[in-house]
């Protein structure tokens, strides 16, 4: 629709009408760009705070029309698998006598999957935990594992929020979203 406004009086008289006409489209457009900004901000925070590293970009690059939910799929797999690993680690740390060799196998698995999704904080803390494990330093293991559990909880919450917002943005907008 094209309007030719020939005078200030006409323009001011038409202003309410114009607002009424655009009312249905402007809020949606503003909402969409607001969601984009929110999404970008959440992701930036995850990287700035060290929870994620560039490996997460790799996951996003693997998402396309044939695998439209790839990131969410992999993240879900990660939290399911890592929860199992952490339960095993917990049990191994409580066991008496401790089997540090067995504990290391669980840690290796947890660290590997954290690395695969770009969960940087968890990966780094798992590295420290493995060092304590190799020294058979139980106190060190317990302290470090507590940090791993905290990082896991925080990352899960942040990624759940991120993915929830990502779902709202929708597939068309996701396709045009840049990876950084």
């Amino acid at each position: 629709m094209v309007l030719h406004i020939s005078s200030a009086l006409t323009a001011s008289a038409l202003h309410p009408l114009l607002c009424f006409c655009f009312h249905n489209t402007y809020p949606e457009m503003e909402n969409a760009s607001g969601l984009h900004r929110q999404l970008a901000s959440m992701k930036k925070n995850l990287f700035d705070q060290g929870y994620l590293d560039e490996q997460f970009y790799q996951l996003e690059e693997l998402q396309d029309e044939s695998s439209p939910n790839f990131v969410e799929e992999v993240v879900t797999l990660f939290f399911r698998d890592s929860s199992r690993s952490m339960a095993n680690i917990d049990e191994a740390l409580q066991q008496c006598p401790r089997d540090f060799h067995r504990l290391d196998k669980f840690l290796h698995r947890l660290k590997g999957s954290a690395s695969s999704i770009g969960a940087a904080k968890m990966k780094n803390e798992c590295t420290r935990l493995r060092e304590f494990c190799s020294e058979e330093n139980l106190d060190g293991c317990l302290r470090s594992f507590q940090k791993v559990k905290n990082d896991h909880t925080i990352l899960r919450q942040k990624l759940e929020n991120y993915l929830q917002l990502l779902r709202q943005v929708g597939p068309v907008d996701r396709a045009s979203r840049s990876g950084s």
Binding site: L59, L62, S67, K111, G112, S113, S116
Partner: protein, 194 residues
């Protein structure tokens, strides 16, 4: 839907995929980590290099797919009827490690055993040498990147690179841009990095 069901459904879809006029490489991915299996599968399918992916969670399952049982040879030599063109296996797995699987594959009596690539998160020279010594074609550090999977085609036997026809889905071919960031790690000791 359980993860196992998801994987099976995906495998069925990949078996039904068509690469019109293209060449298909059948990759057996072996990894006990469901996260890593999915990521590697995603990398292979997204690479544009036309891989058909079969993913299993253990060395034992891999042996079943290959038609091998531990300590025995295949009833039919794989070179005559290769169902798998290349094996990409994790090193650290419970019960049967990637090294054990590598050894079993290379001990086949056929003239050209299937190429085996080892994946590991550990950059241990001794481990790399051990794998190379018994015939591993390459040793890749996890997490894998796009250029790692693109290299896999270099190890596939020329006879395996034949056009496939059939009723399958067309897949858009596009090359992924390389990740910016750290340069790639070394593969086997002594081999130049591509």
């Amino acid at each position: 839907m359980s993860m196992e069901e998801v994987e099976e459904a995906r495998e069925e879809g990949s078996h039904g995929s068509m690469f019109e006029g293209g060449v298909e490489v059948r990759v057996l991915v072996v990894d006990d980590s469901p996260v890593d299996r999915r990521v590697v599968e995603g990398l292979l399918k997204r690479s544009g290099a036309m891989f058909q992916v079969i993913a299993v969670d253990s060395g034992k399952r891999a042996m079943e797919v290959l038609g091998l049982t531990e300590g025995k040879e295949a009833e039919q030599p794989t070179v005559d009827d290769p169902k798998i063109d290349i094996i990409l296996t994790d090193y650290c797995m419970p019960e049967m490690t990637g090294y054990d699987l590598l050894k079993a594959v290379k001990e086949q009596s056929c003239q050209k055993p299937i190429p085996v690539i080892i994946m590991s998160s550990e950059n241990e020279p001794q481990r790399i040498s051990r794998c190379r010594a018994i015939g591993a074609e390459d040793y890749l550090l996890k997490p894998l990147q796009t250029n790692d999977v693109l290299r896999l085609r270099d190890y596939v036997r020329p006879t395996a690179l034949s056009p496939k026809t059939g009723t399958k889905r067309k897949i858009a071919i596009e090359m992924m841009s390389e990740n910016s960031g750290s340069e790639r790690r070394p593969c086997l000791a002594g081999l130049a990095v591509a």
